[in-house]
């Protein structure tokens, strides 16, 4: 199981993946926006996206859970 967490405070601009998707290493899951910069959050390893913990418009803090891949 891989937990993907936020590296910085950011707004969730776009949720690209859907819970239940099969994802490949490097696939974009979510696009964050911080300080006018878009920051893609990618799958760190292949598997099934069992949890997507954010929604578009959310403000997330450093360390917050974004997704779980199993």
């Amino acid at each position: 199981m891989t937990e993907i967490r936020a590296e910085m405070v950011a707004n969730v601009w776009k949720v690209v993946a859907v819970e239940g998707d099969t994802v490949a290493d490097g696939d974009t899951l979510v696009i964050l926006e911080s300080m006018k910069m878009e920051i893609p959050v990618v799958a760190e390893g292949a598997g099934k996206l069992t949890r997507l913990a954010v929604a578009e418009g959310d403000v997330i803090q450093e360390g917050d859970l974004i997704a779980v891949i199993e």
Binding site: M8, V9, A10, N11, E33, S34, M35, K36, I39
Partner: protein, 416 residues
């Protein structure tokens, strides 16, 4: 005026009167025209200075300010509109005798049209949002495949950030310096040029450090660029402070018009340091119909000035680093000016630009300005979040920047 996210910041405390205009989300505050006009009305303000972000180059906003009976501290809405669309601006500049790079004279309709045009101009080619700025949606394409993908990316970003999908293609200049001319349209209609700024130190097409005079511009080129910038301003009946941005091809020594910023620039302090002219004061005077406070016929810049933008970002990959500032200690001394938006205890939010402060240095010549900058960067203490101060130290110590012989790729060479 301020948003909820900025309530604790020094500019709010320093103002005689401050009005809360909305929540953090820019759309609901700094881009909310109704809230801004309401704040002006409730506070009895007679004029609006738009600063250099958000609505500063929005012609419709300028018109609404004027319609509300307020003084707009900036050029006419017509001038903003003519320069806001990069394609129209290019065409207008070409007809005013300002050199432009080979490129589109109308918006590029679709991917296939882009490929056809690229065949005429040749690769690599630059893709830009016609209504854009800040490097958003901009990329260079080396072949048809990257043009196709870059075109689509540019379109979607242009739509999202600027509300217009219009795309411009332009010949790409491989090794270029970004050199811009400060102009000032006076109340009597004359346009004067106040020298150039070299803004070639950029990451993600955004400026990180600027200097004047440009080490890559000799007196002959300077005279031609200043004359072209005056023609550019005259072509749109420009009033107030504006900047004509150009690219200087380091191979040929020629320059082309890039775009015009119809507002004050972030990096205006370097011009102020060498000319002794307070640009914001001139903006206010022009808006009020007064003469400039200096003699336009005898502008004589002295010494060398440098501006380092202190960003809340990591100094290696330049990724945003919002957070709370623990320590904030600014360098002080002769020739050192710090324009800061933050201080100890403030929280830097992810909502806006990462610019924390501008560190500006002024000395007799470039070597002395660089030495002063190294000392000032070393004395600037910010803790609690990451800043790019360590990058500036590397930049100042690099052979390439030190030599003055650098171009817009200098940052990518320092941080490969």
């Amino acid at each position: 005026m301020y948003s909820e996210a900025d309530a604790e910041l020094p500019f709010v405390a320093e103002a005689d009167e401050a009005v809360l205009i909305g929540p953090a989300q820019a759309k609901l505050s700094y881009l909310n025209v109704d809230a801004i006009l309401q704040a002006a009305s409730s506070s009895g303000a007679a004029a609006i200075h738009p600063g250099y972000g958000f609505l500063a180059e929005n012609a419709e906003f300028a018109a609404q300010v004027i319609d509300a009976g307020l003084t707009w501290i900036g050029p006419s809405p017509e001038a903003i509109e003519q320069m806001g669309d990069k394609i129209r601006a290019r065409n207008l500049m070409a007809s005013a005798g300002v050199p432009v790079a080979e490129g589109a004279t109308e918006p590029v309709a679709d991917e296939n049209a882009a490929v056809d045009l690229a065949k005429q101009i040749g690769y690599p080619i630059m893709i830009k949002a016609a209504a854009g700025g800040g490097g958003i949606g901009m990329s260079a394409a080396g072949d048809e495949q990257s043009l196709r993908s870059g075109f689509e990316t540019a379109r979607s970003r242009a739509e999202r950030f600027f509300g217009s999908p219009a795309i411009l293609l332009e010949r790409y200049i491989a090794a270029a310096r970004h050199v811009e001319i400060q102009i000032l349209g006076l109340a009597d209609g004359r346009v004067v040029a106040l020298g150039e700024r070299d803004c070639s130190v950029q990451r993600r097409h955004q400026k990180v450090a600027e200097e004047t005079p440009s080490p890559g511009v000799d007196q002959g080129l300077r005279e031609r660029m200043l004359a072209a910038a005056i023609r550019a301003g005259e072509a749109v009946g420009y009033r107030g402070a504006g900047t004509v941005e150009c690219l200087v091809d380091t191979q040929t020594g020629d320059f082309v018009f890039l775009e015009m910023n119809t507002r004050l620039q972030v990096e205006h302090p370097v011009t102020e340091m060498v000319t002794g002219i307070d640009l914001v004061e001139q903006q206010l005077r022009v808006a009020d119909g007064l003469d400039a406070s200096f003699d336009a016929a005898s502008i004589s810049p002295s010494g060398h000035a440098l501006e380092l933008r202190i960003y809340a970002e990591d100094p290696v990959r330049f990724l945003p680093s919002p957070g709370t500032i623990e320590q904030w200690q600014e360098p002080t001394g002769p020739g050192i000016r710090v324009d800061a938006g933050y201080t100890a205890g403030n929280t830097v939010t992810p909502h806006y630009d990462p610019l924390l402060a501008k560190l500006v240095l002024h000395a007799q010549d470039r070597a002395e300005a660089l030495a002063l900058a190294r000392q000032a960067v070393g004395a600037f203490i910010v803790t609690g979040l990451k800043t790019n101060l360590a990058f500036h130290a590397d930049l100042l110590n690099s052979e390439e920047f030190g030599s003055g012989d650098y171009d817009t790729s200098v940052v990518s060479r320092l941080r490969p």
